[in-house]
Symmetry: C2
């Protein structure tokens, strides 16, 4: 039987994160409000430490290590934001970290992870099994493996962003709808825990790239659907399937899963840059792109939008802005 | 005798702006702190309404109009942020606005100003005298001219940003140094009023582009120096001279005026995008670029940096990020 995390776990995570994670700002945009006839509240996790919400889950998980675990440290496999999240959390908590990354990962990501003090172990994506390698290293060194999303402490940590969003907008009334990007479901699951507890009437939507709608298929079919790695610019949502924990929360607490195209993501990215002066990575544009497409469903409503991160290679970002 | 505004005027401006201007966030960057050995506090006026601090001064000035002035409305000449600031403020206060802009102004700026509901009067930069045209229109229509910087109400309004910055960082102690971009001196002057009142020990630095150091020359010579329109990417600081009011405040309340190169601006712009996930216009990069170059002068210090705005054409921004 899975021990599904609860909103109490989110509260406990918030206490652990206090003073370590940024309480990121909730920004407004009069232009967005006028254009779509709604009131938007943007929770800006692109301003979170290491540039994405992932810090919350990683730091929460590592904070719970006992003395022996701290001594041996944490290990993770990731070439994305989870790598930097575990690396930075380990450094802040004074423990070793190993990140397993493909040897063709972008140099900038390798450098950023190394800058946070982690040891990087590289592997060949075409000949080596990442999970087997990581398991072997974990066992050899006694390190604790922290998966990117399917872990109660990771989910509870991610839930703290929407907890803050709802708290910080509560004085003007509850949110009517909440849009959250969906990859493996850590953020969506954690957010749903907070929304159900703090704003029971709020509709909760997970948003996937059109090309990678395994979550939508899973939600609608009632079982976890696996897909091939999807082709989309939303690299943070290129997951092949939901997790055991995240699926259980999502099927119970999420109202629907919707999808958007890469072209919609670029349009949202340009809006964020031009009108809100924010750099948002493609995955971070999923939620707003879906809200923009919701039409009458959000008219006159108070709509929370989680802007999940801002980690995008500058050259690639410039090309996307320029329409390339 | 000039009636120089005081910090009391900044307090009054803050009351008028309450509920109309955003109280913009103060962001931190652990990366910047580690790299330069200081504690930076970034006051993010790129997230202000219409994308720049200019809204504060314009709204404050227009708020003080009497009934007859409100009926006739406001007029301004500007092809930059002041145009949009006056246009938006007039709309919010329910009065007409005329903006005098060159007929070769970028289409995006014309459109943005029009979107805020202002009437645009265009002129030929090569054959017509902008100021004479504006004065004539003002007289014909009974409109009140709001200059971009050399006006007590504009200066007092601009001072509210640093008032907020100092208030919002006070719990951890006073700021040791404050860097502010300097064009005509409205922001630097207003900021200096707030800093002198709230953080008397704080060093206040105005920052100009190297190519347009009229303010530095004026500060050092003791009289207002006029220069040709400088060639710099910092289009908001292409002023030819300080104003009567702004010069008096700056010579009295500012500690020094320093300069940075366009290359340093691009470096700061890339840092903001890559590490802080913010779109900052070239002029908005002046303050941080100077702080980065300050070396030992800021080591171990608490340093306020005013990020003045984020209005930059996306294609141009993309080219600057890409190193073009």
């Amino acid at each position: 039987m899975l021990q599904i995390p609860t909103y109490q776990d989110v509260i406990a995570a918030a206490a652990r994160l206090d003073g370590h994670a940024h309480r990121t700002p909730v920004l407004r945009s009069a232009t967005a409000d006028a254009r779509y006839g709604a009131q938007f509240f943007f929770k800006c996790e692109n301003f979170q430490r290491m540039g994405a919400f992932k810090f919350r889950g990683a730091f929460n998980a590592l904070s719970k290590f006992d003395a022996a675990q701290r001594k041996a440290g944490a290990i993770a496999f990731s070439s994305g934001n989870h790598a930097q999240a575990v690396a930075l959390s380990a450094r802040l908590l004074g423990m070793p970290a190993v990140i397993v990354m493909p040897n063709d990962a972008p140099a900038a990501k390798l450098a950023a992870t190394r800058e946070y003090g982690a040891e990087i172990v590289q592997y060949d994506r075409f000949t080596e099994d990442r999970e087997a390698l990581t398991q072997r290293l974990a066992q050899e060194r006694g390190m604790t493996l922290i998966p990117p999303y399917d872990h109660p402490d990771v989910i509870a940590g991610q839930g703290t962003a929407v907890k803050e969003l709802i708290e910080d907008t509560a004085s003007e009334g509850p949110l009517d709808a909440l849009y959250i990007c969906l990859g493996g479901g850590g953020l969506t699951g954690g957010s749903a825990l907070s929304a159900r507890a703090l704003a029971p009437g709020c509709k909760v939507y997970g948003v996937e790239p059109e090309a990678g709608n395994d979550g939508q298929q899973s939600f609608r079919s009632g079982h976890i659907v696996h897909i091939e790695t999807p082709r989309t610019i939303a690299d943070g949502a290129q997951t092949q399937h939901l997790g055991q924990y995240t699926f259980e929360i999502i099927r119970r607490d999420v109202d629907d899963i919707v999808t958007v195209s890469d072209a919609q993501l670029v349009e949202a990215m340009r809006f964020f840059a031009e009108r809100m002066k924010m750099v948002v990575e493609p995955t971070g544009c999923l939620a707003f792109a879906a809200a923009c497409a919701a039409g009458a469903a959000i008219a006159g409503r108070r709509v929370g939008v989680v802007v999940s991160g801002g980690n995008v290679d500058l050259a690639r970002y410039a090309a996307l802005l320029a329409g390339g």
